[in-house]
Amino acid sequence: MATDVSKSPEDGGIGSSVKTKARRYRELQFTDAEMAVMLISPGLLFLAVISYYPILDTVWTSLHQGSVLLTRSETWVGLENYQTVIDDDSFWNAFKVSMIYTFVSVPIEMVLGLGLAILINRNFRGRYVALGAILFPWALPTIINAEIFAWLFHGQYGVINDILVRIGILDETFSFLAKPDAALYSMLFVTIWKTTSFVALILLAGLQSIPSDLYEAAKIDGASKIRRFWHVTLPLLKPVILVALIFRTLPAFQVFGLPYGLTDGGPGESTTTLVLWAHRETFNSLNFSEGAAAANLITIMALIICLIYVVVLYEPEVR
């Protein structure tokens, strides 16, 4: 630590003799820059090793011949691993599932979340309970949520079947999770149930930051409720909507626990998402090079989606 500090760029100026610096240190007196180095370097080192190094390592692994567990292959094969992944039909099936999952669930969550945020954006008795109802689905672990809904959707004894039969929508029990389309819809239902609340929380914070005099002004100008929503609320909420979109799309595109616990990717591969597929490919066959190639493809796709959002929605200096 001490050597770190002495290398700090801010000190070692003109007259600062070694003696006074040593004395300063002995008295535990540091400049801002020295303090910053001490406070920031441990965490930064952490991020370098655990977050940035693995991303680079995955790129390296993906460009070399089939590395299997701990036997690192040094043979450069270029994009061959990517070719193998791209030629695999099940990869494209997983891609399709992930795309449907993401781009059906996220827009629905946005609309419902906005409705919920507007509903709750006022003072009322029982607000604490309502906020609790919003937070609860967010706090549930995805995998446990999947187990819970696997039980609620159960084909023989599930309560959802019971309710639908009782109110006459179904004549007899239906195996939601055993039919490809129904399983995918069920998975969408579960994720919308769980994550709409998070969207609502983010948008609620956005709504509360809109100054009320803007509404007053619009009201005086004779704008109706609907016009105020379209011309005041929505434009001002745009940056917050962008944040919520990115916060939801990234995890949705990488979903793993929900299909793992709800359907195990089935029936067939109808609910196998990209990460579930890649996890299986990697850890069942222990072919880390192909797994790394798949991981990079997923990373690149996620980044492209975010980039599109930013290009479409970002406006520097709104207002």
Partner: protein
């Protein structure tokens, strides 16, 4: 005449207000019902004798409630151990995130130094990196350095995942503190370190609570890394233990739901105790 119409208007206005209120509370009740129904159903299933669980049409209220499922959940698998493992990993992650996050957050918010913006960007961008892209190299690292099936094998990556969030919360909190606080300390002859430990540390409790609670929930809930890194049953976290349960027993739904209930009790407690803090934390910086 005019008095009567005004009264009428008033009454109409009031009844419209009343109608709106009824509609509003109807929606709130619906929201609560939809949100809390699963937890009620978990409890209902967990409290039923196994034979009653597998019946159709289903019974909504357990007729002869029993704690048998809870007993089974703890007997058939080391559920207590799973809960303990999760608790150790989640607390360890929360502590490490608070320590590192507060250090970095303080420096970024209150100190003058070069490269501040690039460092902040580096920290925040790391939050966007996909998890699966980091899983394979970290698994190999953990294997090489014998971190598989150990608490630190999970605490270390979890800390890295949540550190950007922790830094975000702390730097926002420290930015709001008045300058006079530090100045007073300086006048009293405290050094930089003295100011940090004697003045800043004691007032940062709210930010610490927010960070710790949310990081704890994240670590408690994580599944992908826990499944991959913990292969010995006695090291399973509760999410892994529950996900890999079943199969070996017939109709284990009552037992699974009892285990699920035990796994979410800590979360419910945290929500009840820290609701406001959690909401503040999740929405820090939104709309500013």
């Amino acid at each position: 005449m005019s008095v009567r119409t005004r009264l009428q208007e008033l009454r109409e206005g009031k009844s419209r207000q009343f109608g709106e209120k009824v509609g509003f509370y109807f929606l709130i009740v619906l929201l609560c019902l939809v949100s809390f129904f699963p937890v009620l159903w978990i409890l209902r299933t967990a409290l039923m004798p196994p034979a009653d669980v597998v019946q159709f049409p289903v019974t909504y209220i357990p007729e002869s409630p029993t704690l048998q499922n809870f007993q089974d959940a703890f007997d058939q698998q080391p559920l207590g151990r799973y809960l303990f493992n999760s608790f150790v990993v989640a607390s360890g992650t929360a502590v490490l995130c608070v320590v590192l996050g507060s250090m970095m957050g303080y420096a970024l918010a209150r100190l003058e130094f070069r490269f501040k913006l690039p460092i902040l960007m580096l920290i925040l961008v790391s939050a966007m990196l996909p998890f699966f892209g980091r899983l394979i190299p970290l698994f190999e690292l953990a294997l090489e350095y014998d971190f598989l099936n150990s608490y630190f094998g999970l605490i270390i990556p979890y800390t890295a995942f949540q550190l950007p969030f922790a830094v975000w919360i702390f730097q926002a909190y420290f930015k709001e503190l008045p300058d006079s606080l530090e100045e007073a300390g300086r006048i009293d002859g405290l050094t930089h370190l003295g100011v940090l430990f004697r003045i800043i540390l004691p007032v940062s409790a709210p930010a610490m609570a927010t960070t710790a609670v949310i990081v704890f929930i994240f670590a408690w809930n994580e599944f992908l890394f826990a499944l991959t890194f913990m292969s010995e049953q006695k090291m399973y976290t509760v999410t892994v233990g529950i996900a890999l349960y079943g199969g070996q027993f017939q109709n284990p739904w009552g037992t699974i739901m009892a285990a699920v209930f035990m796994a979410i009790v800590p979360l419910i407690l945290l929500l009840v105790l820290f609701q406001t803090k959690i909401i503040e934390g999740l929405t820090e910086g939104i709309g500013k």
